[in-house]
Amino acid sequence: MNEAPDELIDRAAAALRRRHAPNPRLVSRIMASVQSRPRRWWRAVSWPSAPFSLSATATLAAAGLLLGFLSREATNAVGHDQPVAAQPGAQAIPLIPAARASGEAMPVPVQFTLRDVRASQVTLVGDFNGWSQTATPLEPGTEPGTWSVTIPLSAGRHVYAFFVNGKWMTDPRAQTAPDLDFGRANSVLIVQAP
């Protein structure tokens, strides 16, 4: 059974949720109190029973998580029909997204291009336009199947993709970046400051 939305209850709950912050003092007390307790739940396992150190297990835990991320990226990355060139397909004018307004140099024009004869509609989505599917359409070029748009981008690393006929597509001429959240790789571009 779904409960009907209730703004007053939601606001009240949100207020109650924000009331507390992390309490490192309490965490230290908890860890100190468990360290002196016998480990009653050791199970008989086949791996070595050498005593472990916190730093070693934390490193192993971090390595395990990272390996998990990297292997997930490898299995989920979108394949490319065309070889990846050293230069990305993007070359020109950047857009400055509200969330990433740079305090550094002026934005750099970056041109994004795509060649796809089957495309009837192409837009650009990326961290610079809030991944909006409609904000940045590409215009068809004089040669059939060519599309481009030039937008200003702040210097730095940007991730993006094309939306071709309503479908997600990475830039075939750009490097890819792993997508740990949704399992579909993005294209990545580094914009140099002028």
Binding site: A14, R18, R100, E104, W131, Q175, V188
Partner: protein, 212 residues
């Protein structure tokens, strides 16, 4: 200021709720009510603790564009919220929004949080947004985070500009695409940048000139 007042000013107001609705309105039109409500909760929480909530909307829109399920989108938005908070804590005090965003990206690819803290300690006044972007790209290309961070910070200590750091990242990108092992590429390119930088100051330099 009384403790009660301190406690009370943590509540999102009606004014803030208006701003939240404006943010959530930026969600793609295809987002259903359940997703909107989930994202709104995250936006409210982020806004209340001063995090850049626009990034959460962008993350949701990325998921929508990628046809992800609502659960996956809400999980991703929540995870980003946590990363933004960790990034802000590690880059304290007073990191810019750019730095918080860049720090969250670095955490996303697996850079451990303490590295952010160390970089902030080494450069309390320089913006770390661009160096963190370079670090993110190097780690995303397969370099161990410690190694990549050490290289970036060594170059920064020697006075490398952001332009030089970007050039390093672009070159490593190209080398890895051409089949180089990431560490070999980083080693080669870092030496190249280092050769252009002024030599490191001698360890026993005088701290102040002698008076004549």
């Amino acid at each position: 200021m009384t403790l009660r007042r301190l406690f009370l000013i943590s509540l999102a107001s009606g004014t803030a709720a208006t701003g939240v609705h404006a943010q959530v309105a930026r969600l793609d039109a295809s987002a259903d009510l359940g997703l909107r409500r989930s994202v709104e909760r995250e936006v409210v929480a982020a806004r209340a603790i001063g995090l850049p909530e626009g990034l959460l909307i962008a993350k949701a829109n990325e998921g929508i564009a990628k046809r992800a399920t609502p659960k996956r989108i809400t999980d991703a938005v929540a995870a980003l919220g946590k990363r933004l908070q960790v990034a802000r804590d590690q880059l304290a005090p007073n990191p810019s929004e750019d730095e918080i965003a860049a720090g969250a990206d670095a955490l996303y690819v697996g850079v451990p949080a303490p590295i952010l803290k160390k970089m902030r300690a080494a450069w309390p006044h320089r913006s770390l947004a661009r160096p963190l972007g370079v670090l993110t790209e190097l780690v995303a290309k397969g370099l161990p985070a410690d190694r990549a961070a050490q290289t970036v910070t060594d170059l920064m200590k020697r006075g490398a500009s952001n332009v030089q750091l970007y050039a390093l990242a672009q070159s490593v990108q190209g080398d890895v695409a051409a089949g180089w092992a990431p560490e070999a590429a980083l080693d080669l390119r870092a030496r190249g940048v280092m050769s252009l930088l002024p030599p490191a100051p001698a360890a026993s330099a005088f701290t102040s000139p002698r008076r004549p």
